[in-house]
Symmetry: C2
Subunit: 456 residues, 2 copies
Amino acid sequence: MTASADLAPLVAALPADCVIADPDRMDAYRRDRANDPHAGVPLAVIRATCTEDVQTAVRFAAAHRIPVVPRGAGSGLSGGSSAVDGCLVVSTERMRKITVDPTSRTAVVEPGLFNAEVKAAAAEHGLWYPPDPSSYEFCSIGGNVATNAGGLCCVKYGVTSDYVLGLTVVLADGTAVELGGPRLKDVAGLSLTKLFVGSEGTLGIITRIVLRLIPAQRPRATLVATFASLEDATRTVLDVTRGIRPSMLEFMDRTSINAVEDLTRMGLDRTAEAMLVIQSDEPAAHAAAEIAHIGELCRANHAVEVFAADDPETGEAFTTARRMAIPAVEKKGSLLLEDVGVPVPELGALVRGVAAISAARDVTIAVIAHAGDGNTHPLIVFDPMDADQSARAHLAYAQVMDLAIALGGTITGEHGVGRLKKAWLPDYLGPDALELNRRIKNALDPLGILNPGAVF
Amino acid sequence: MTASADLAPLVAALPADCVIADPDRMDAYRRDRANDPHAGVPLAVIRATCTEDVQTAVRFAAAHRIPVVPRGAGSGLSGGSSAVDGCLVVSTERMRKITVDPTSRTAVVEPGLFNAEVKAAAAEHGLWYPPDPSSYEFCSIGGNVATNAGGLCCVKYGVTSDYVLGLTVVLADGTAVELGGPRLKDVAGLSLTKLFVGSEGTLGIITRIVLRLIPAQRPRATLVATFASLEDATRTVLDVTRGIRPSMLEFMDRTSINAVEDLTRMGLDRTAEAMLVIQSDEPAAHAAAEIAHIGELCRANHAVEVFAADDPETGEAFTTARRMAIPAVEKKGSLLLEDVGVPVPELGALVRGVAAISAARDVTIAVIAHAGDGNTHPLIVFDPMDADQSARAHLAYAQVMDLAIALGGTITGEHGVGRLKKAWLPDYLGPDALELNRRIKNALDPLGILNPGAVF
C-alpha cells in the first residue's frame, strides 16, 4: 500500500470540493456510530457527487493499491465504516437525488438520502418504503442497502433486501455495473442485486438503488402490555406469532424501561420486568379485533397491565419510547451494542441467557428486541475508565454471541458484521460457508482494496 | 470429459435403486417441458434420497470431470434441465420431507416436493406459501428456488426469493454448505442464500430450503373485464397499479381467450381484444370496495363488459381459465414460450409491439400476462413440419426479446435463461454485468461441471 500516493491527479480529475485531505476536516469521517477505537487516518475523504466520481476514486485507489472505505451517513453500529490508515473514504452523503414512479411503484434513489427522506418522497405519492431502522431519521438508504438494514416493521414487512429491485455498483476496478431494474420479476442471470445487498462495502460501492414501494400503511392501533416476569412476556410473543401477524412486536426489559422513563417521565411502569409494544395496521375493524385478541393473549400470560391505545398519538408515543431506548441507555455509560437473533421459539432462552450473563459478569445489560422476528439488542453498559468492568463487558459481549450461535441464531440480525463482530463470523458461519464467502470476495476484489478489515 | 467413467464405484456408494443407467429408463430425464431438441444422453441418472447422495454424485462427477445437470420435477420452460451428453442427471424427485413450524412461521422443505404440496402443508397450520407458478401442481419447490419462480400472486406478494430464508447447497466439489436459516433477519456474511436463488443449477445443487410463510390468504373477490382494444386494457392496468394493490392482475389477449374457450366452452367473449382477471384479498368490506373501484376504472377505459364474481367458485373458474391458457394454446401447435417483462408503464408498448411482430412474421402469437408486474408470456405457435413457418416463429421469438430489451425490460421474468435464452443474455446484461456473472460462476465452479451450457 502506498499511503503517500500523490493526490494531485485525483483532485484534478474530480469536481471542486470533492477531496478533503485536511486532517481536522477528515476527523468527522474516521468513525461511524460504533466509535471504533482502532479507526485509522485516511489519506483523503472523497465526497462524491455522482457514480463517475466514485469510479474515479476507485480507479485511483486500484492503481495505487489504496484501501477504499465506503461511507454513508456514518450511523453504522458495527464499525463497517471505520477508516483504515492511508485509505480513501468514499462518502456518498452528497448523492441525494430521488425519483418516484407511482405507476410501477418504484423509486430510483441515490445512496446519500436519509431513510426518512425516501419515506417522505414515497408518501407524496401515497406510497410507502417500509424498512425502518430506529435510526431512520439519520441513516442513509445506501447504508441501509449495504447492511441489509431491518427495523421495527420487518416482522410483517421484511427487510431492506425485500425492497431492492436494482442497483448501480462501482466494482473494485472502477467499473460501474447496472444490476436489475424497475421490474418486480427478473431472473436473467445470477441474482447479483441481492448479493450486493448486505455486502457492507466489501464487494463494491452502491451508487444508485431501485426500490420497490407499496401503498401507504394504514393507521396503526397500538397495544402496550407489562409483565412481572420475562418468561410471561416471551411466552406471549410466541402466542402472538403463532397466529397473528402484527405490524410491530417490540420488547423492552426493566433496565431499558427505566432508562427511557428517566429520560421521558412518560409514566412507564418501573417495576415491570418486561414491556411489549404491539401494533396492527389492518383495516380499522380488523385492527381492533386483532388488538383485542392480542390483549387476551397478554392477559392469559399474566400481564400486569394491558393498555390499548386507539388514538395514533398515544401509540406513537410508545413507539417513540421504544426507539429512544438506545440513546436513553447510552446515558448510563458506554455501550457495547449487540444485535443477536434467534429463531423466534428460542427468544425466551436467549433473553434468560442474557440475564444470566449479566449476573455472572456483573455488568448491566439492557435488552430491547424486535421480538416478533427474534432479533434482540442487548445493550451492555460499562464505564470505559473502569478497566475491570470494561473487560467484563467485553467478555459478556462475546458470551452473548456464543449464546446466540448455540441457540441456532445469528451474531447480527440487522447491523452488519463490520469490524466489531468479525472475530465471531467464523464460528457462526462454519469453515465451509466462510470459505464460500471468501471465494466470492476474492473473485470480485482480487486486490482486497474494498473495505479491508470489515466482515472478513 | 470421460463420458465412459466406470459407474460401479458410484453405484456402490449410493443406496440401492439410486442410479439409473438404462437408456430407456433415462429417456424420461433428458428433457424438461421446454422439449429441447438438442438434449443429450446422460451417462446416468442419480435419483438422490438425501444431501449425502447428492454430495456423493457431485464428488464422483468432479473427480471424473463429468457434467452434472440438476433436475427437479422437469417442468422448466427454458431448458435448464436439458441433459448434456455423458452427464450425471441429479434428480431430487425423491427428496420430499417437509416440517412446518407455526411459531416461527417457517418450513424446512426438501427440493422434490411439489409447490402445491408445500402450500398444502402450510395450510394445515393456517399458513400460506404465496408463490404460485401456473404449474404449481406439478413443479417442484427446488425448481422454483433454482429459477426464482414467480406466478400470479407476485404483483402483491413478491417472488420465490422473497420467501427463501435459508438453503443447504451442494457445491461443485461436493461440499454441502448451510446458508441462512429460520431467522427473518440475518446479515452475518454475504447474502449467499439469495445468490443461489435463481442460479439455475449453475452454482450448486439445492438440497434443503427454509421458507418464510405468512398467514393464510383471505377469500378473494374477482373481477373480470373485457375490452375491444388492447390499448384500453393496458391503460386500465396502469390505472389500477397506480393506486391499488390487487392480489392478482392478469391479462389475456383474443388468441388466448379463444384457445381457452375452445377447450372449456365456459362462455368467454370470443370477440374481445383483451380480458383482465383481477382479484382482491383484502378483508371482505375492503375487497368489495376495491373491486368496485377497479370496476369503475375498467368502465372509464371503455370496458365492454365488467363482471364482478363475489362467489369464490366463479372467481376460481376465471383463474383456472387463465392458468389453462398455456395448455390451451399448446393444442394449436408447437409453442415457443416467451417470458419477457418490462417496467409496468411499458406494458402497452410491449403488447402492441408483439402484435406487430406477429403480423410482420405472419405467425400466431397468443399473449397472456401477469400484467400487474409487466411480465408477459407471448406464446408463439408454429407447425414444426412447416420449415418456413418454424423459421419465422424463431425470428419472432428473437424479436420479442429484442423488443423487451429496447423497452428497458428483461428477457425472462420468471422462467429462467436455461439453454433456450442464453444467446440473448449478453445483449440484456451488457458486457460488464455478464463478466461479473462469469466471475462468480468461475469462482464457485472452476471446473465448469455444474449445468454446463445453461445460462452462460
